[in-house]
């Protein structure tokens, strides 16, 4: 028994899954970030140590994945709030979400490489 009308795809579960995965990532990332910048960093934060860290390829990867996670998690959360308001223009909201997310990620990577 199939009902063709009701069978359509939805990416909402994937968005949700990524929201949860980035959440778990960020518990770790933000923990590390807060530790090195504020706990340890309160005592010994110098420009040399920062430059040394962001020039290390592992740390660079870390920051890029962190950046992508935080931008996705934050903006997807905002998108959820907008949808919760009962917005009808779903595709426009989604397009805006992707545009802002991609610009934010590119800007973040630019900052990472230009400091």
């Amino acid at each position: 028994m199939t009902n063709q009308e009701s069978i359509k795809g939805s990416m909402a579960p994937v968005a949700w899954l990524f929201q949860l995965i980035t959440a778990i990532f960020m518990v770790f990332f933000l923990g590390v970030h807060l530790w090195i910048m504020h706990a340890e960093g309160s005592i010994s934060l110098t420009i040399q140590s920062i430059l040394q860290r962001i020039n290390d390829p592992w740390w660079k990867t870390f920051y890029i994945v962190f950046l992508v996670s935080v931008v996705y998690h934050g903006l997807n959360g905002l998108r959820g709030i907008v949808f919760d308001l009962g917005v009808k223009k779903k595709s426009l909201t989604n397009a805006l979400f992707w545009i802002v997310a991609i610009i934010s990620i590119i800007y973040g990577i630019y900052l990472l490489y230009s400091i």
Binding site: M1, N3, I7, S10, A12, G86
Partner: protein, 249 residues
């Protein structure tokens, strides 16, 4: 015996006000008893829906002190008054709120939207074959979904849900719980049909586990847990669709 004030929202969307009624209550009086008292003795024009008086029909759900509940099972002795004025306890009674309910008059709301949403998730057993005789089910299989069958469709969960109050298209806790109830039933074969409907952005994905529905439910159905399980089912369904190309059937 004690006299309390019932502050009831009277009127219709065009013209309304709060009116106070002085009602005597006993130790074991319910809010519904007090409403009947008002209608029988003070103001015959008061409208409200009620029938069984024993938490079975699901007609009498209202906002009591801003909290949605079935009035027939709400004892005055078990709830705190909204305020105390001139030494008398004041209880505020309002119709159910939310985008799914259209306020008609006094304490009566229109349930059309609510039941339309409920119907849209196919709340009935779907079989691919045409079985003869009875469908056998073990007590263990029954236990998986039995608590969810206690839902009386009173609408308290929908009135409590923050998202149902802002998004008119959200299916709402009652419909989603019904979807999970049939998905968890071993006799049912229409799981994917329902998952195709609830995995829509306006389906279970508008739920963010504020779990107010579970607090409000007078029958302790726990819609919040059911919706989370539905999310996991729905994710599995959509991932299968994306990676294995399996369609709902």
């Amino acid at each position: 015996m004690e006299n309390i004030i019932l502050r009831i929202k009277r009127g219709d969307p065009n013209h309304w006000e709060y009116r106070d009624y002085d009602v005597p209550v006993e130790k074991d009086s319910t809010v519904l008893d007090a409403l009947y008292y008002v209608r029988d003795n003070i103001d015959h024009s008061l409208s409200f829906r009620a029938s069984c008086r024993m938490e079975v029909c699901g007609s009498c759900a209202m906002m009591v002190n801003s909290f949605p509940t079935t009035t027939c099972s709400t004892l005055f002795s078990k709830i705190k008054p909204a305020k105390i004025e001139n030494g008398k306890k004041v209880y505020i009674i309002e119709p159910l709120r939310g985008e799914s309910f259209k306020w008609i008059r006094d304490l009566v709301v229109d349930f059309d939207e609510f039941f339309k949403k409920h119907e849209s998730i196919k709340p009935y057993l779907i079989r691919k074959d045409n079985p003869e005789g009875q469908l056998i089910q073990s007590p263990k299989e029954l236990k998986k979904y039995y608590p969810l069958t206690l839902c009386i469709k009173c609408g308290a969960c929908v009135a409590a849900c923050p998202i149902s109050n802002s998004d008119p298209n959200y299916l709402g806790p009652a419909a989603l719980t019904a979807a999970y109830r049939f998905n968890a039933d071993s006799r049912d074969q229409g799981k994917n049909l329902r998952l195709a409907i609830v995995s829509d952005p306006e389906g279970c994905w508008r739920c963010h586990f504020s779990s107010e529905c579970s607090n409000a439910c007078p029958k302790n159905v726990d819609p919040a847990s059911a919706i989370q399980k539905l999310k996991v089912q729905s994710t599995g369904y959509e991932l299968k669709r994306i990676f294995l190309g399996k369609r709902g059937e």
